[in-house]
Amino acid sequence: MTGHGLLVIGAVLLMPVMAFFTLREDHILHAIIGRGMLGIAAAIAYALMGAPDVAVTEALMGAFLVTLLYVVVFSSGDEFRVGYVELPMMVSKESEKLEGFAVDLLTEFGRKIKVKPSFVPFESRQALLDAVREGYMDMAIGPFVYPFDESDNYLTLPILETRIFKKNGGEWIDLLSLLYGSENRTFDRSSAEMEKGFYSVLLSEDAHDLNDILFSFMGDEDNLTVPELKKKYFGESK
């Protein structure tokens, strides 16, 4: 057991330790760092064992390029894209920070399934609807109301009941954009008749597991987030 033997055993011992550290983690970023360290430990072990070519290749290919690949690909992996059209109280952008009933709901949902939402702004409702249909956006929040925005190329999940004002011309406006919305002050409430409706999240057909989890998340009774958020934003006035 020469000194050099001990050195080799030390480097070789490092590998299972790094491997165990990598796989013990559930958070993928820690696992990737562990994988990088395993690559470096392997490179050291190969160099000590008299295999310089393999050590160089393992260091560059195994330690560097694989970690770069994981980090680059993973950095966009663990998020679902939520398109939004601004609607006061539901989705509003105050000084670079998004807040609103739907935003908090989805962030809470993301925290539960360890996949965080990334919010993408959209100007027009139609652009967002197309994006959800194409599958580029996994969800859409904003001025979408259950009975009217129903369509077969995406799912609608009602999250908040509201009242809809329909004019005879078929054009309708929901309560929130009427109360807080700026541009449609001129809409006279008297001539429109009122209907019951639900603000809803539009889900693209492709996001299979997101839909199942979100429906069950909203469905189970002992989930306190929805009543809490309602109290926080609307204070039971609705």
Partner: protein, 225 residues
């Protein structure tokens, strides 16, 4: 599908038994005489590993270049087909980072050339050189202005370059199989050992451009950072 937890434990237990048997196999290769010198002498280059890997077993290395290139073009086929989100022009703007990055790019480019050209004399491989070359190109493309780079080195020219070096590797391996190998030259000199130095450089170019194309694919797809 409720996988009862114990079934996968049973699988893992079976694996432990198999690996244990693997560990206690008596080692029969003690004291076997390694004729590294014979291989090196025949190939005319000191680095025996490169001699085997680029001359005796060139047939394997040819397949390896195929594997690497096809997986890169397969990944690019998906990356190019995907839609492109809005892409920022440059990722790092403050001058300090740019200078440091430019230094790293030059450093890795130099190490790539060293690994490739002297690969058959001292340890160093074509593939490792390729990865280093690819890294320097990636760093360069990260810091410089995107459209400056794209019109300067539009993807068509490297693509053609990559495909031609791929074809050259195949041609040289055909020549090596049929025995047409230039003379071994002086032992230890830069151009010794038949096709090996040229192959090393070609593999460096091929793998370097492949890695760079893959990273550009990621960059376009806004996956980087």
């Amino acid at each position: 599908m409720r996988i009862k937890f114990d079934i996968r434990k049973a699988y893992f237990a079976a694996a432990i038994v198999v690996v244990a048997l693997l560990a206690v196999i008596p080692r029969t290769d003690l004291g076997r005489e390694y004729n590294a010198a014979l291989i090196a002498a025949k190939a005319g280059i000191p680095n025996t590993v490169t001699a085997i890997y680029l001359k005796n077993r060139l047939y394997d290395t040819m397949f390896e270049v195929m594997v690497f290139s096809i997986s890169i073009s397969g990944a690019l086929y998906f990356l190019k087909k995907e839609n492109k989100f809005h892409l920022e022009d440059t990722l790092f703007t403050d001058p300090a980072t740019i200078i440091i990055f430019r230094g790293c790019a030059m450093l890795s480019f130099l190490s790539a050339c060293a690994l490739a050209t002297v690969g058959h004399l001292s340890p160093g491989g074509g593939f490792a050189a390729g990865v280093a070359f690819g890294t320097s190109m990636v760093i360069q493309s990260l810091i410089s202005d995107r459209n400056h780079l794209s019109n300067y080195l539009s993807m068509e020219r490297p693509e053609r370059f990559e495909k031609s070096s791929w074809m050259l590797i195949l041609a040289i391996s055909l020549l090596t199989f049929s025995g047409i190998i230039p003379s071994n030259g002086i032992w230890g000199s830069l151009l010794s050992g038949g096709w090996v130095p040229l192959l090393n450089i070609l593999i460096m170019i091929k793998v370097g451009l492949g890695t760079w194309a893959l990273s550009l694919g990621f960059l376009d797809h806004k996956w980087i950072f």
